[in-house]
């Protein structure tokens, strides 16, 4: 037991390399959390389990930075916004949307989709064509927007898998030197003489002709389906893993820190009170402590999550139930030592209330120990929560790292080699744990000088 002053702890802590590393990592994580909360709108992660939200994302694609490491460039998934031109000639209004794609990858894109939200009345004709790097223009689709007498808002999607596109491409059959029994994208992005990728700039043009009034484009984009996307890739359900991983950071910190603070506060007060009171009270309280200590935590947490609720806030409470016990034991023995000191005796003789003695004279002495235990017990809370989530018992409205791993496991990510789905969440769990272990160990070494060599 020590009575190290805050000043000394600070001084000693700044000398500890390990502790500073921990603080450095932790500040990084906090920074990431702050940026995530303020930059990424909360709606994106609330819709984590809503497949509709992720429809224009690619399925299980590798992180796009993989292209920097390998010589074969994997086509990136691109969401392209158009340049819109409007013109009028002989009473015909032309609205032209041009999507420029610079394509220099070593594999064909998987597909492409045009998505637009338009506002119009009457009939409008839609023509889609592509100008390839070799100057050839391919007409892809001629169709019309559904007729409407009144002004309406209409959502339209054109898929590259549309059989009409294939049919139109068949008219160019004689220009190409290979068999056309392949997908449309593989024809469009191919060289003439051989079915090989033609690299360069493609311009996709969607022309809409109207007679009386031009169509109004409210939203429009082209999705060029690739096999690489974003910072962290996507999963089987097309979700952008970067968003899940980023949102996981504040969640993990929140779970870990609140569980550890909660259990340390409860354990500290419980232990100190038990030790200070002594006799029967101590005996009864320590028996109760033994009971909780001997409960198998994980089976119980599972039953609690299944039968009561898997809400994240209740889960934090459940985790606290099982983690205050050890701290209570240690703080009890510490308070047993402190209470024999003369100033405590003096305070008691002076007639101070028990609560005052505990909060004024005993607890402050245990504060350094308390801070060390808070830091040390964070990783266990994070890994336990991750473990429960991994078993599929997590709160579905808050995507944690454990849940990402759960999904990876259910979709057989290991078997299919989706490393980007398995590796980052685990590393993040470990890094977060390490930060707190470093800080905790450094504090512990100061508080318990015995452990120092």
């Amino acid at each position: 037991m020590s009575s190290v002053s805050t000043q000394e702890i600070k001084k000693e802590f700044l000398k500890s390399k390990l502790g500073l590393t921990g603080v450095f990592i932790l500040s990084g994580l906090i920074l990431v959390s702050i940026i995530t909360i303020s930059v990424i709108p909360a709606s994106t992660f609330q819709e984590w389990n809503n497949p509709e939200k992720w429809i224009s994302y690619p399925k299980t694609s590798v992180p796009s930075w993989v292209n920097f490491l390998s010589s074969d460039k994997i086509p990136e998934h691109k969401i392209i916004n158009p340049e819109i031109f409007q013109s009028q000639e002989n009473g015909i209004f032309l609205t032209s949307q041009q999507f420029g794609v610079s394509f220099d990858y070593d594999d064909f894109p998987s597909d492409f989709i045009f998505e637009m939200k338009t506002k119009y009345a009457d009939s409008h004709i839609v023509q889609i064509k592509v100008i390839r790097p070799d100057g050839i223009t391919l007409e892809l689709l001629s169709t019309s927007l559904p007729h409407s007498d009144n002004e309406t808002i209409h959502n339209q999607r054109y898929f590259s898998t549309d059989s009409m596109i294939k049919k139109n491409l068949n008219t160019y059959k004689n220009d190409f030197g290979f068999d056309f029994k392949i997908g449309s994208t593989e024809i469009i992005f191919s060289e003439l003489y051989q079915n090989q990728i033609q690299k360069g700039n493609y311009i996709f043009i969607v022309d809409i002709y109207g007679i009386e009034k031009p169509v109004e484009i409210l939203e429009s984009k082209m999705v060029l389906g690739g096999k690489a996307y974003g910072l962290m890739g996507t999963d089987e359900l097309r979700r952008d893993l970067a968003i899940g991983l980023l949102w996981g950071t504040p969640l993990a910190l929140f779970i870990g820190i609140s569980v550890s603070i909660g259990s340390v506060v409860v354990g500290l007060i419980y232990g100190v009170y038990s030790g200070y009171k002594g006799k029967k009270t101590d005996e009864v309280m320590m028996r109760f402590n033994d009971v909780i200590y001997a409960l198998p935590a994980l089976p119980f947490l599972i039953i609690l999550a299944v039968t009561i609720s898997n809400s994240i806030f209740l889960m934090i409470g459940f985790l606290m139930i099982f983690s205050w016990v050890g701290i209570a034991k240690v703080s009890r023995s510490m308070s047993l030592q402190i209470k024999t000191r003369q100033y405590i005796e003096a305070a008691r003789i002076m007639g101070q209330k028990d609560s005052k003695i505990i909060f004024r004279h005993i607890l402050p002495q245990l504060l350094p120990y308390a801070f060390a235990s808070i830091a040390i017990s964070v990783p266990a809370a994070i890994t336990t929560e991750a473990g429960l989530s991994f078993l599929g018992l997590g709160d579905p409205s808050f995507p944690t790292w454990g849940q990402i791993l759960h999904d990876a496991n259910t979709y057989g990510a290991a078997a299919q080699g989706f490393w980007w789905w398995i590796v980052p969440p685990g590393i993040l769990i470990a890094i977060t744990g390490l930060a707190f272990v470093f800080i905790g160990n450094a504090l512990d070494a100061i508080v318990n000088p015995k452990l120092k060599r």
Binding site: L295, P296, G426, I429
Partner: protein
């Protein structure tokens, strides 16, 4: 005398814990259990009546028929004692008594490999496999840990010592099941050395079964050992460092006994009590973690059984496994207590 009293108090506490665990489990799943049982009765009664067409023909009015069915159901519910809620003292007492004598009833969905749906049989079929996996892993961990710990305490601040300490801190931050996923990814799919599923594909009565079991066990054991031994080595090292500062060691040093001999024979012997105690405790701790580890590796033990029972809400199996897991957990804590009390006489008298 002191040891006896100590053990009796501990034993009584353990029994109390067991009862509380049981009570908690039953009260958590009790209401669900009742609904499921009642639904089962309704289903059963209706099936019996529809099978026997003569009963249905005896009624002209469908309302009257419905009444008759309801009456049958109520009768059945009453004979099974389900008309009183699960928390009524006699039902609670009866349920607890049944579980205490290891009569867990029949599982709702799960069956044992031999096809029996008796919960006791299912559990006792899976238990040896869990014990086999975790005892093997714990023994390997402790051997590596003790040797490495002693080696690094022999030369504090050396390269071995620093690497061990660093490895201990880093390895214990990774969740075992995540390392498990990585190991499966690397050693079962990228390099196809080990099988991905730890359940042997051969039937238990075929000759090569034990070999197949060991082969399938390799990847889980390697993973558990990899994550566990660092922390063990660190622990042993810290015990040893403490003992090496004791007076009798200093005395031995001054006599001129070689440091190596002091570390490996004198100090290690004195560090044995806490080490053995923690060994027993870590074995019990790993049992809880078995649920996740076995789920990852698909190891056919108690943990996977528990996980499966949870996912289909097979309540008799959940109650039975929780009870058995608690018993195992308490037994190992008790053994740890026993060893601790035996090795360290201070424990017996201080309370």
């Amino acid at each position: 005398m002191g040891l006896k009293r100590y053990l009796v108090t501990r034993g009584l506490t353990m029994f109390g814990v067991l009862m509380i665990t049981l009570l908690l489990t039953i009260s958590l799943v009790g209401s669900n259990m009742d609904t499921i049982l009642k639904q089962g009765i309704i289903y059963q009664v209706r099936a019996e009546i529809t099978e026997n067409t003569t009963i249905a023909q005896g009624f002209n009015d469908p309302e009257e028929f419905e009444k008759f069915v309801q009456q049958k159901i109520d009768e059945r519910v009453k004979t099974l004692g389900l008309d009183t809620p699960w928390y009524s003292p006699q039902r609670l007492g009866y349920t607890m008594y049944k579980i205490l004598i290891l009569d867990f009833g029949n599982a709702t969905f799960l069956t044992s490999d031999s096809g029996s749906s008796n919960v006791g049989e299912i559990i006792f079929e899976k238990m040896p496999k869990t014990i086999l996996l975790f005892t093997t892993a714990t023994i390997i961990i402790s051997i590596i840990g003790i040797l490495l710990g002693a080696a690094s305490s022999n030369k504090i601040g050396s390269k071995t010592d620093r690497i061990t300490s660093t490895f201990a801190v880093i390895s214990s931050s990774f969740p075992v099941w995540w390392i498990g996923m990585l190991m499966i990814f690397v050693f079962a799919f990228v390099y196809q050395i080990f099988p991905a599923r730890a359940t042997p594909s051969i039937e238990p009565d075929e000759p090569g079964y034990i070999l197949a079991l060991l082969y399938h066990m390799a990847l889980p054991v390697i993973t558990i050992v990899l994550i566990g031994f660092g922390a063990w080595a660190y622990l042993v090292r810290n015990f040893m460092v403490g003992i090496m500062q004791e007076d009798f060691i200093t005395a031995k040093k001054t006599i001129g006994i070689s440091k190596k001999k002091i570390v490996y024979s004198h100090a290690l012997r004195n560090a044995a009590p806490p080490i053995v105690t923690i060994l027993a405790l870590s074995l019990s701790g790993s049992l809880g973690g078995a649920i996740i580890t076995e789920a990852v590796f698909d190891w056919p033990g108690m943990g996977r059984l528990y996980f499966e029972a949870i996912s289909v809400m097979d309540l008799p199996v959940i109650i039975g496994s929780t009870y058995i897991l608690t018993v195992l957990f308490l037994v190992s804590i008790f053994i740890a207590d026993l060893l601790y009390g035996y090795f360290d006489p201070r424990v017996r008298t201080s309370s």
